[in-house]
């Protein structure tokens, strides 16, 4: 929950009272929450290499990576939003809006159509960010656009699935550069950019300051509102990009199902990757690994002839384990 002033105060007290030399148990817990996702991913990969036939083939690995790319891109935007202590539930609907707009503007050429779709994603983010900056809780603000956004996408596309035969769009969704699929390349580029911004750019430091202690950020004279708006716009733009990639891969614009429930997958990837929901810290590589872990769980379960429902229950257990490992540090 977004913290009111009492929670912020207690967080500050805790930060002061934790001594430099942590106890061994606390150290172990910290280690687990920081690197647990790599451990889990390593274990799952080893299991698959030994027990799953045809797992370590280029075709299979490429398929897994292509499938996870849109989730990873959305999750990276989500990680930035969560870094400010917020949440963005509207990403799936934003993907649907982007998908719905593509065929409408295809007459002007594919690049203008993509530009319109991405611009619309930014507009959704602008509304989200404006509401949050005005003081509305992120869950509610973005919940409104989750509902209204999906409806808008359906209205715009008249509820229909439209097939798109455009070589450029197909190439974007399924093409390769030096053997690496373009969606994967896009996800890696976004991750590198996000990592650079968080570590090296003033905006990234502001973002973490706003998430870590908003009153302090305000007192320090940081442009809190502008930072919040920018973060939600970034999330919206990334979601729209994911919508374009998904549409390209499917060869069809499907406003009913594009990005449906992806907000949950994205939040899961971020949380499992070790980013605390309370804000103030973002783990980019962890988020990528979290998305990959969740994808591999489904793939493993399916390749061993188990059901999708089993995968969901395993994912649930992993989410709980991940937040349990984080709990002592986040203080929530």
């Amino acid at each position: 929950m977004p913290a009111g002033s009492p929670a912020v105060a207690s967080g500050a007290v805790q930060a002061v009272s934790v001594p430099e030399g942590r106890t061994r148990v606390a150290g172990r817990v910290t280690w687990l929450s920081d690197y647990g996702v790599y451990l889990a991913l390593g274990l799952l990969l080893s299991f698959n290499l030994v027990f799953t036939p045809n797992f370590a083939t280029v075709a299979n690995l490429r398929l897994q990576l292509v499938q996870v790319a849109p989730v990873a891109i959305v999750a990276l935007g989500m990680a930035l939003v969560i870094g400010t202590g917020g949440i963005d539930l509207s990403v799936g609907s934003t993907m649907a809006i982007a998908a719905a707009l593509l065929p409408l503007y295809l007459g002007y050429g594919i690049w203008p159509a993509i530009a319109v779709a991405v611009f619309a994603g930014g507009a959704v983010g602008l509304v989200n960010g404006g509401l949050v900056a005005y003081g509305i809780q992120p869950i509610v603000a973005t919940l409104g656009l989750l509902v209204a956004g999906r409806g808008t996408a359906l209205v715009v596309a008249d509820g229909r699935l439209v097939e798109i035969f455009d070589p450029t769009l197909t190439a974007i969704g399924g093409g390769q550069v030096l053997g690496v699929p373009l969606p994967v390349l896009a996800a890696l580029t976004v991750a590198a950019a996000a990592g650079f911004v968080l570590r090296r750019a003033a905006f990234g430091r502001r973002l973490l300051a706003v998430g870590g202690n908003r009153p302090a950020a305000l007192l320090a004279g940081l442009p809190v509102r502008r930072t919040l708006v920018t973060v939600y716009v970034i999330s919206g733009v990334l979601a729209a990009m994911a919508g374009v990639l998904t549409t390209g891969r499917q060869g069809a614009s499907d406003p009913s199902f594009t990005g449906l429930l992806i907000e949950l997958s994205a939040i899961t990837a971020v949380v499992v990757g070790g980013t605390p929901l309370a804000g103030g810290r973002v783990r980019i590589l962890g988020t990528l690994m979290g998305a990959l872990l969740m994808q591999l769980i489904i793939a493993t379960v399916i390749q061993h002839d188990l059901h999708d429902s089993t995968a969901r229950m395993i994912q649930a257990a992993i989410i709980v384990a991940a937040v349990y490992a984080q709990r002592d540090r986040s203080g929530t």
């Binding site: 929950m1 977004p2 913290a3 009111g4 002033s5 009492p6 929670a7 207690s10 949440i87 539930l89 509401l131 949050v132 005005y134 003081g135 509305i136 809780q137 869950i139 509610v140 603000a141 919940l143 409104g144 656009l145 989750l146 509902v147 209204a148 956004g149 999906r150 409806g151 808008t152 359906l154 209205v155 008249d158 509820g159 908003r214 009153p215 429930l261 949950l264 939040i267 899961t268 949380v271 929901l277 309370a278 059901h307 999708d308 429902s309 089993t310 995968a311 969901r312 229950m313 994912q315 649930a316 257990a317 989410i319 709980v320 937040v323 349990y324 709990r327 986040s330 929530t332």
Partner: protein
């Protein structure tokens, strides 16, 4: 976000303040009911008897009763400073289990789902209340788990269990008393009971205390905050489970795909009803108004034959945003 202590406590001191702040507080507490009255009036004037006819109003009431049960539980959870994303999945799981359990008669069809749902609520509550994990993530996990279990029980959705038509449960679920569906009466009874518990018992008072300022004050006063939190999550799951059983009884089957997105609809109803997501302040009456408002708006859009059902989502979402904007504006004015 940064709602101060003063306005969280506002519902407890309605007499305080000037005329304008009293008006603002009134608007927040009864705004949903007011808008509901306006929308109903508008519907009556525009559509006449196709809106006010017993068939249509009965359908609205039936549709609203399931959401009311879920939103009532959600109100307790939110008042106690939490959130429960799992209710939609729990509702589906409950329906599937009710249909599965109907082989052991009505008792099995009611007790099996409620026991499992209660257990899920207990897990939610213990993880949030005792282990102090973030409620958003914990209930996100149980959302996945309950949906997975519902699909596992119904063999990945390939098997639809049917409740025998001669079972007492089916007859109750499809019966009418004085023209009102029995599920509506059950939902209203549960709602009334919840109202008594929230407003007239020690537990109800403690729910408010546990949600005020993250429960720090309540803990310092020696209130068993963890136990209160466990109970609200159990209550929320049980009410969602009851809604699932009633839907199964009415449709005589259990579908694992049911209730997707119901949790968001319930949260929207609670927020529209004037309950603050930060916890500690709100009313069940507002939730009732919020539920009815959402359902009446959906119905009115259906009445306009030319509009696709997608417009329901556009209007509901926009409406939610407008309501919270007004709430935030009122809160700002009060602070000044």
């Amino acid at each position: 976000m940064t709602t101060g202590q003063a306005e969280r406590a506002a519902p407890f001191s309605p007499a305080a303040g000037t005329g304008r702040t009293r008006l603002a507080s009134l608007a927040r507490r009864h705004g949903a009911a007011l808008v509901l009255a306006l929308v109903v009036l508008l519907g009556t004037l525009t559509f006449g008897s196709s809106f006010t006819g017993p068939g249509n109003l009965g359908a609205i009431a039936l549709d609203a009763s399931y959401l009311l049960l879920v939103a009532t539980g959600m109100t307790f959870v939110i008042l106690a400073g939490g959130i429960d994303l799992s209710v939609g999945s729990v509702l589906a799981l409950s329906g599937v289990l009710a249909a599965y359990g109907s082989r052991w008669g009505t008792a099995g069809a009611v007790l099996l789902p409620l026991a499992v749902c209660g257990l899920i609520g207990l897990v939610n509550g213990v993880l949030v209340g005792r282990a102090r994990l973030a409620p958003f993530v914990v209930t996100l996990a149980t959302l996945l788990f309950a949906r997975g279990l519902a699909f596992a029980v119904s063999q990945e959705g390939n098997r639809v269990y049917i409740i025998p038509a001669d079972l007492a449960l089916t007859r109750i679920g499809q019966a009418n008393v004085l023209g009102v569906g029995v599920p509506v009466l059950i939902a209203l009874t549960a709602f009334a009971a919840a109202g008594v518990v929230l407003n007239r018992t020690r537990f109800g008072l403690r729910v408010f205390a546990a949600g005020n300022g993250d429960g720090h004050a309540a803990e310092l006063m020696g209130l068993p905050v963890a136990r209160i939190r466990v109970r609200v999550y159990v209550l929320s799951s049980l009410l969602a489970g009851l809604a699932g059983v009633l839907i199964a009884a009415q449709t005589a089957s259990g579908l694992p795909t049911l209730g997707e997105g119901r949790e968001l609809e319930a949260i929207a109803a609670v927020v529209i009803g004037g309950t603050l997501l930060t916890g500690g302040a709100g009313t069940l009456g507002g939730t009732l108004a919020g539920v009815l408002l959402l359902k009446v708006i959906q119905n009115l859009i259906n009445q306009v034959g030319t509009l696709s059902s997608a417009y329901q989502q556009v209007v509901s979402g926009t409406f939610l945003v407008l309501v919270v904007l007004v709430q935030a504006a009122l809160a700002r004015r009060r602070r000044q």
